[in-house]
Symmetry: C2
Subunit: 287 residues, 2 copies
C-alpha cells in the first residue's frame, strides 16, 4: 500500500512525473481527424493518467489525450507561471466544493489546511459560490493575515484538535468542511460540522493517505464523510475559462513561486518540508 508520503497511488515506474501543465499544441497524432483546437493554441491539461500511467509534464514536450485538454482564453495580466498553476488547482478545488461538498449559497464552510494553494483557492471560490461564513485553519499563526486576505472570515490555529474551539466559536460548527490535512485529523473534522454536515477529504498534507481503525462512532454527531479524487470528466466539467478570467481580473489570486527545470530537486524538497503559501511552478520553456 502507498502509505508513505510521496508514494502516490497508481504510479508505475519508470515514469516522467508531473501531472499537469500548460503549453501550446505542437501537433496531433496522424489518426486525428477533427482536432479540438488548432495547432499553436495555448491549452491546459491534467488527468487521464498524466504523470501516473502516462509520461508526464516535466519535459519540453508531452503527449496527452485530446479529451484532456482545455483551451486557455486570452488574458491581459497573467504570467505563464500563473496560468500554469491553474489546471489541477482549479479542478481539485472546484470539484471538491461543488461535486464533493455540494456547497450551496448561504452555507458555512471550514477549509482545514488552508494555506496550501488548494486551500487559498478554496477560500476565494467559496466567496464566488456565496458561502455565508468561511473558516480556515493553519498551524502557523504568522499566516493568519494571509488567510483573511484570501477571504477567511475566521481563522483557527490547528494543533490537530480544533473541534471544541470551533463548536464554542460564535458561529458554532460549520455546515461543511473541506479537509486538506487528511486522514490524521479527519475524526476531529467530523466533529466540526452540524448534524448531516459533510466533510470532504481532498488532500493529504498530513502525510496519511489511509483511514485505519476507523469506527462508526466517528459519526456520532451524524456527520458524513466523502472524498474527492477527480477524474478526466471533472476537468472537462470545470468552468475553466470563467475561472481563468476571474484570475485575470484579479478576483482570484494565488501566490506562485517560479522555478527552472534544473531547480526541480529543490522544489520537491520545499514541498516535502511542508511547502504552503504558494503554488510551485516550473517553467520549462517560455512560449
Amino acid at each position: 500500500m502507498y502509505t508513505r508520503q510521496g508514494l502516490s497511488p497508481n504510479v508505475s515506474f519508470p515514469r516522467v512525473v508531473g501531472i499537469e501543465c500548460i503549453g501550446t499544441v505542437a501537433g496531433y497524432h496522424s489518426s486525428t481527424t477533427s482536432p479540438p483546437v488548432p495547432i499553436g493554441q495555448r491549452v491546459a491539461t491534467c488527468m487521464g493518467g498524466l504523470g501516473r500511467s502516462l509520461s508526464g509534464s516535466y519535459a519540453e514536450y508531452t503527449c496527452v489525450a485530446q479529451e484532456n485538454i482545455r483551451r486557455i482564453p486570452d488574458t491581459q495580466n497573467l504570467k505563464v507561471a500563473e496560468l500554469a498553476s491553474f489546471p489541477e488547482m482549479f479542478q481539485t478545488t472546484w470539484g471538491s466544493l461543488t461535486s464533493g461538498l455540494d456547497v450551496q449559497k448561504g452555507e458555512s464552510v471550514l477549509v482545514r489546511g488552508a494555506t496550501s494553494s488548494i486551500g487559498l483557492c478554496a477560500l476565494q471560490l467559496l466567496k464566488k459560490l456565496g458561502a455565508s461564513r468561511i473558516g480556515a485553519t493553519t498551524r502557523n499563526p504568522s499566516r493568519i493575515d494571509m488567510l483573511h486576505g484570501a477571504g477567511a472570515d475566521e481563522v483557527f490555529i490547528d494543533n490537530g484538535s480544533i473541534a471544541d474551539e470551533v463548536a464554542s466559536s460564535a458561529g458554532g460548527v460549520f455546515d461543511k468542511v473541506l479537509e486538506l490535512v487528511g486522514a490524521s485529523v479527519v475524526r476531529d473534522s467530523l466533529k466540526c460540522v452540524r448534524p448531516q454536515g459533510t466533510v470532504c477529504i481532498s488532500g493529504m498534507q498530513g502525510g496519511e493517505w489511509l483511514l485505519n481503525d476507523f469506527d462508526v462512532f466517528a459519526f456520532r454527531n451524524r456527520s458524513r464523510l466523502t472524498g474527492y479524487s477527480g477524474g478526466p470528466e471533472d476537468f472537462l466539467a470545470l468552468p475553466f475559462e470563467e475561472l481563468v478570467k476571474d484570475a485575470d481580473e484579479g478576483k482570484i489570486k494565488i501566490p506562485v513561486r517560479e522555478f527552472k527545470l534544473e531547480d526541480i530537486q529543490q522544489v520537491h524538497e520545499i514541498l516535502e518540508a511542508g511547502g504552503g503559501g504558494a503554488k510551485m511552478v516550473v517553467v520549462v520553456a517560455e512560449e
Copy 2:
C-alpha cells in the same frame, strides 16, 4: 481495540449484560421527586449505558435512569416477547433511516443484510416513510420470499460484491444504502448509491467493526459515508408509542423467537452462528 466479534465497545467487566428490556416499574430511588410514570406502568428501556457501564437486563430487576424509559401504550394483540423485541430495534432502525440516512419520501433505499431483525424492521419502516423503491440483500436465496414479504421490491443475493448487479438492475443504483453487514463490504456499498448518495453503517453482521486501509478513492463516485450509533436522546426522540401501535395493528411484523433465561447460552450460540430471520427474546418473568 475491540476488533473481535463479540467484544462490544465501552463494556467494562464484570457486568450483567443485556442492553434493552421491557418491564413494569417496581420503584424509584428515594430522591425521585417527580416520577415520570406511576409504579406498575409498563415501560421499555435501552441506552444510557445499560449492559455496558451499568448492569443490564439479564435479570429479574434492573436499575435504569428515569430519562431512559418510554411508556408502553396499551396493546391488543402483542405478546410480551414481541413488545420486548422493540426498544433497540426501533431505536436503531428509526434512527438510522431518519437521522443517519435522512430518508425522504420518494427515495430509493437498499438494505444490505436485510434478514436481521433490524433489516426486516427497516424494510417495513421504509414503506412507512414513503420510500419509492426498497431493495434488500441476503446471502441466502431461501430468504428471498421473507424479504419480499417484509416489503422489499427487489432482492439481491449478496456474495460480498453486488455493486455491478445493482448498477445494471432496472432501477440502477439507489439513493441510499442502510449497511448492516458492516466494514467488510462498505466499499462495495459505496458503489451502490448515486452521486452524493449516502451509505449509513448501522450494523456489523460481517464481524468487522473497523475500517482499515480505507482511502478516498472509495468515494470516487461521489458517495458519502456515515454511521449510526444511537444515544439516549435518540431513544427519547423515537415515535415509540406510534410504532408500537403500528405493530399492534399488524403493520409492522418482526418474527420473534422466545427463550427462557436458562437458555441464554444457546441464544448467544445461535447469534454468534449468524442468527437472522428472527429477534431472539429472553422472557425472564411474565408480567
